[in-house]
Symmetry: C2
Subunit: 272 residues, 2 copies
C-alpha cells in the first residue's frame, strides 16, 4: 500500500515525518508513506497558501499510484481549500481512503457529502510520538493496512452507520453545503481547548440544526484541555450533553473513544 501525506491546514516538522517513516520501516516495511513537500511549507498561519495546499491535495488525491491520503496535521485551514478541490477530484480520488480528524473534519465531511472515497476519522500522520505514544497512529495504520477491526471505536460493533467530528468543526459546517447528510447515523463529537459555555453554545447549534434532525443518536468523545470558564458553569459535561440530546430529541448513547487523546480510535464514516 502506498500512502500519501498532505497538510491542508498547518505545517509539520521534518522530524515528525522522519518519526513516522521510521515507524513504517519497522512495523510495515512492505508499505510506502510519502510526505508531499508542501507539508513543510509555512505561510502565515498555514502550510503554504490556499492555492498551494489545494494543489498538493489534488495532486496526491488524483494520483492512482496512492491508495490512501493521510492528513498530516490540523490546527485550522482545510475549510479554505474546499471550494477549489472538491469539484476537481477524479475517479482515482474516489477509490481512496482519507484519514485524519479535528480540522480535517471539513475535508472528511465534504468528501462524505459528495460520496468521494472513504473518509475516516483517525489520528494524524504527524501525531506519532508527539500527541501520542504511537498507539493512535498505530491503530490508524493497523486499520488502514491490516483492516484490524480492533482499531475501531468499540461502539461501532453494533453495525450502525456513524461519523465523528470535532464539535467546533461540525458546527462551522452547519448551514453550509459542506455538511453531509447524517440521517440515521450515530454522531460522535469531541472537543479540545474550549470553556464550557462555548461547548454549550456549540451544542445548542448542533441540537437546533435543521440539517441534523434525523440523526440516530450522539456519543461524546474526549473533552480535553477545557479552558477555565471564569466561573462554575453549574453543570458537568455529561449533564450538558444529556440536556442538549434531550432538547434535540435524540438518544445520548454514552462516551466514545475518540478525541485529542492518546487513544483516538478509528471511525470510518458510514458503516464500518
Amino acid at each position: 500500500m502506498r500512502i500519501g501525506v498532505v497538510a491542508p491546514a498547518r505545517t509539520v516538522s521534518s522530524e515528525s515525518s522522519l518519526r513516522l517513516a521510521a515507524f513504517m520501516a519497522l512495523i510495515y516495511p512492505d508499505h510506502d508513506i510519502v510526505f508531499h513537500p508542501q507539508c513543510y511549507l509555512e505561510e502565515g498561519h498555514f502550510a503554504g497558501s490556499d492555492a498551494v495546499r489545494a494543489a498538493a491535495f489534488l495532486e496526491f488525491a488524483n494520483d492512482p499510484a496512492f491508495d490512501a491520503i493521510w492528513f498530516a496535521r490540523g490546527g485550522y485551514g482545510s475549510n479554505r481549500i474546499l471550494d477549489t478541490v472538491m469539484p476537481q477530484l477524479n475517479a482515482a480520488a474516489g477509490r481512496k481512503t482519507y484519514m485524519g480528524f479535528s480540522d480535517m473534519g471539513f475535508l472528511l465531511g465534504a468528501l462524505y457529502a459528495r460520496r468521494i472515497g472513504r473518509p475516516v476519522h483517525a489520528s494524524m500522520a504527524s501525531s506519532l510520538g508527539k500527541n501520542d505514544t504511537g498507539e493512535a497512529a498505530g491503530w490508524a495504520l493497523g486499520w488502514l493496512i491490516d483492516k484490524d477491526r480492533r482499531a475501531l471505536e468499540p461502539s461501532l460493533a453494533d453495525g450502525r452507520p456513524a461519523a465523528a467530528f470535532n464539535l467546533a468543526i461540525l458546527t462551522t459546517m452547519i448551514g453550509t453545503p459542506w455538511l453531509p447528510d447524517l440521517t440515521d447515523h450515530v454522531l460522535m463529537i469531541e472537543e479540545v481547548d474550549e470553556p464550557l459555555y462555548r461547548i454549550d453554545r456549540m451544542l445548542f447549534q448542533m441540537a437546533h440544526a435543521t440539517q441534523l434532525k434525523g440523526i440516530a443518536g450522539v456519543r461524546l468523545g474526549a473533552v480535553t484541555s477545557v479552558v477555565d470558564n471564569g466561573n462554575d458553569f453549574g453543570e458537568t459535561i455529561e449533564q450538558i450533553i444529556t440536556r442538549w440530546c434531550r432538547d434535540m430529541k435524540v438518544p445520548y448513547l454514552g462516551r466514545a473513544e475518540i478525541g485529542h487523546v492518546e487513544l483516538n480510535r478509528v471511525v470510518p464514516f458510514g458503516v464500518a
Copy 2:
C-alpha cells in the same frame, strides 16, 4: 416611556442598575426604568435558571405597561430560553422595542425572524459607566426616547434595511430556525476576544451559509481584544473580511460604528 430591564444571560450588579437609575433621573426624569429582580440572581453561569430567566423575560415583554425591553447584559445564555419564550409572546410583546447586542443577538434575531416587536442593536442597560462613559447608553436612550437619529450607525442614512450581530452569535444561529431572513439587508458584524484564525473560521461559515446568500453587503464593526493567534496569521482583519466577501460574492461596504467599544451605535433591525 416605561422601560423594563431583564437579564436573559448573565447576572448584573445592583451598582450598575443604580448608575442607570441615576442617569435616567438626571437626563430623562419623566421616564421610568424598572430592573426585574431576576437581573441580580446568579445560578452557575447565568442570572438564574433557564426557567427563571424565561419567565422574567415573558413577564416584562407581555406586560402592556412597558414600552420597551432593554437587556441588561450579555455574556452567554439567551439562546437557552428561545424555545420557551418565543411561542408565548403576546400582542403587547409585539408592540415593544427590544434593545441590546452581543449574546442578545439570539433574542433580537429570533424576534426579527418572527416579526415580533422592534429588535434594535444597541448598548446594554448595565454597560453605563462600566464598558463606556455613558456615550453608547446615552445614544441608546436618545434613540429610544427622543428618536434622536444622530444615535444611528451613520451608514443607515442610505435607507437600506440592516441588521447587526456579534459574529459568533450570528454564526451560531446559522442552520437553525432562529436566524432571520436577511435578504437585501446590509449585515453588520462585530467581534471581541477571538484570535484571527477563529474569526476567519466564523467568516467562512457566514460566507458559505445557504441562508445568507441574498444579503446586500457586509459592514465590519469593531474587532476588539483580539486574542494572540500564536503566530502571524498573515492577513489583517480588513484583508480577511474583503477576501470572504469576495468569496460570498457580496460587496464589502466598509466599517460600521458598532461593537464592544465606547461608541456602539444604534442599528434598528430592518429600515431605520
